[in-house]
């Protein structure tokens, strides 16, 4: 997945994912023949939405959105409150259906394969597509180390492996220096910005292909926000990032492509600079110039 990672000596792209995701690692029972299909290594993933609609009961919140997130940069999704941007993003990792009465229609394709197809395991989808939430939500009863390791523990990863990957994830999230001496301390003891970076580390530890960020900085102060924006800049080399934000300046700072949504509809998508300086759609122009929202 990331052949250039310094902290993963001896690992090759493909070998890492292949051994990890196919069955268990602890060796008590090896991967069964059914599951030992090699996992091809891909640097970044294409995510495509095809006529995606999302419902809360009878209320249609996302209306037939078709969209591509390219793997080569960060995509920002902007729009006024209630326009459906969070809902749409939550459909990508199939978290939307966790809300009672909620459902989605249409297709979400990860490199051509429909995540809503028959026989697709939603747990596998969420493993491959990570999410960082608006309010930092580290597990309160766990230490910093255990928080980052929590995703790895689901698949029975071995202890040495877990330790390596936790350290690596903390480094990737830019939190290592601040917590390396207190990995055993509770996760809640950190500041807001640190907690959010902890959640990012936790998401990164399972090595997702795509990282969804739902207004990750809205609960943080400007300094912490800047720190995370820098982090996004570093991470975008390794992971496809989609960030929902209500802050247009943030979109301008971090994203190469921006999507504007209104009332559940996809209004316009294009290079960030163009969207902000010379948008095609009149509604986009009104929004970015602050006439509403």
């Amino acid at each position: 997945m990331n052949p250039n990672r310094i902290d993963a000596p001896g690992r090759e792209a493909g070998e890492l994912s292949g051994q990890l995701e196919n069955g268990e690692l602890t060796g008590a029972t090896g991967p069964s023949p059914r599951e030992a299909v090699p996992w091809p290594a891909v640097a970044k993933r294409q995510v495509e939405l095809r006529r995606l609609s999302a419902y809360y009961g009878d209320h249609l919140a996302v209306k037939q959105v078709s969209l591509r997130f390219s793997g080569s940069d960060v995509t920002a999704i902007i729009g006024p409150s209630g326009c459906g941007k969070s809902t749409m993003v939550r459909c990508v990792n199939r978290m939307h259906e966790e809300t009672p009465g909620a459902r989605a229609e249409g297709e979400v394709l990860l490199d051509g394969a429909d995540l809503y197809g028959p026989g697709v395991d939603v747990v596998a989808v969420r493993r491959a597509i990570g999410m960082v939430f608006q309010k930092p939500n580290p597990f309160p009863t766990m230490s910093i180390f255990d928080n980052v390791a929590s995703g790895l523990r689901f698949t029975g990863t071995g202890r040495g492996e877990i330790e390596d990957r936790v350290h690596a994830a903390l480094r990737e999230a830019g939190l290592w220096d601040e917590v390396k001496d207190r990995l055993g301390k509770p996760g809640l003891g950190l500041s807001g910005g640190q907690q959010q970076r902890l959640c990012i580390a936790r998401a990164l530890a399972v090595e997702p292909e795509v990282l969804l960020m739902d207004e990750p900085c809205s609960a943080l102060d400007p300094v912490a926000t800047l720190r995370i924006e820098e982090l996004i800049g570093e991470l975008k080399e390794r992971v496809t990032i989609v960030i929902v934000t209500h802050n247009m300046q943030q979109a301008a700072r971090v994203a190469g492509t921006t999507v504007f949504m209104l009332d559940g509809e996809l209004v316009e998508v294009g290079p960030t600079e163009k969207l902000f300086t010379n948008p095609d759609d009149e509604r986009t122009e009104q929004y970015v110039t602050g006439k509403f929202g």
Binding site: G23, S32, G112, D121, A124
Partner: protein, 301 residues
């Protein structure tokens, strides 16, 4: 569902979820379903069993005669037990509900965070855990042995024991409900110049009324089913009496006494009494829950 399959998968498809994890998940979930089933079984069994055994005992005689029996070997019904339960529990409620609400009012309106209030709150909580037999023992020591009121065992002493049992329940539930009365309502009443006692009587209590009634009914249902405290206080007699200063029968005590008798008729009577008691308690409980649900729908505390 497993996404692994033997056929070649399209490039870029997802890594499968381990079969072991899926199995554990399914197993855990079925255990939870099983637990839900198991939890329901006893209730169904109990209700079914007492109905099948007890309904047969119901008759006009059952409800209208005392368990004194007569020359012909007729054991008699449970009239005195039913009446006794109503009298004893009723008297207990007459004492416990006002006192309980009073303590709750103290805690919410006057006590606040004072040390006394904290101590009272804590000990009322603790009081809910005291076994009913200990309350009965206490009343026995202080009232029965002392012959207070000119009698040893007496119905009202049974009421006293039950009132001790009910008090913390009423207080706790009333306190919760009173706390839910919006502060704005309180302040509005006081701002209009009403003295505190009027604000309480006219505004606060009415708005918390349904919650207080619910809590009191549940306390009554609980007290009606208690046997142990009555054994020491009102004891078990046969004849109907309306004099609370005399020993008095009650349904739980009657059941307890008829329970292990070798006489089939007595056992049958015990079942009939059990159905009666459970029916009374269920009715009170359901009324309480109905009031609770209705008030929730209306948005009152």
């Amino acid at each position: 569902m497993e996404s692994a399959s033997l056929s070649p998968r399209p490039r870029g498809f997802l890594p499968p979820v381990s079969g072991r994890r899926r199995r554990v998940d399914r197993f855990a979930r079925s255990l939870l379903w099983l637990a839900a089933g198991v939890a329901v079984v006893p209730l169904v069994l109990v209700i079914f069993y007492i109905l099948s055994k007890g309904l047969g005992a119901w008759s006009a005689e059952f409800f209208t005669t005392d368990p004194t029996g007569d020359f012909f070997g007729n054991q008699g019904g449970v009239k005195s037990a039913i009446l006794g339960t109503i009298e004893i529990v009723g008297a207990a409620a007459l004492v416990a509900v006002p006192l309980g609400v009073g303590v709750a009012l103290y805690l919410t309106e006057y006590g606040g965070d004072a040390r006394l209030a904290k101590a009272v709150r804590f000990f009322v909580d603790v009081m809910t855990g005291v076994p009913s037999i200990v309350f009965g023992l206490f009343i026995y020591l202080t009232l029965v042995l002392a012959g207070t009121g000119g009698s040893s065992f007496a119905g009202w002493k049974g009421s006293a024991a039950l009132a001790l049992l009910m008090l913390p329940i009423v207080t706790r539930s009333a306190e919760v409900v009173l706390q839910l009365v919006p502060a704005s309502l309180r302040e509005a009443a006081l701002a209009l110049g009403a003295p505190r006692w009027k604000a309480i009587a006219r505004v606060i209590l009415p708005s918390a009324a349904s919650g207080i009634v619910t809590g009191s009914l549940l306390a009554i249902a609980r007290a009606a089913g208690e046997t142990a405290p009555l054994l020491f206080t009102a004891t078990i007699v046969k004849a109907t009496t309306f004099d609370l200063n005399q020993p008095m029968n009650s349904l739980p005590a009657q059941i307890f006494q008829d329970l292990k008798q070798p006489n089939d008729e007595l056992v049958q009577r015990a079942w009939g009494a059990a159905v009666t008691l459970v029916a009374m308690i269920l009715v009170i409980t359901l009324i309480a829950k109905l009031i609770q649900r209705r008030s929730r729908v209306q948005g009152a505390p």
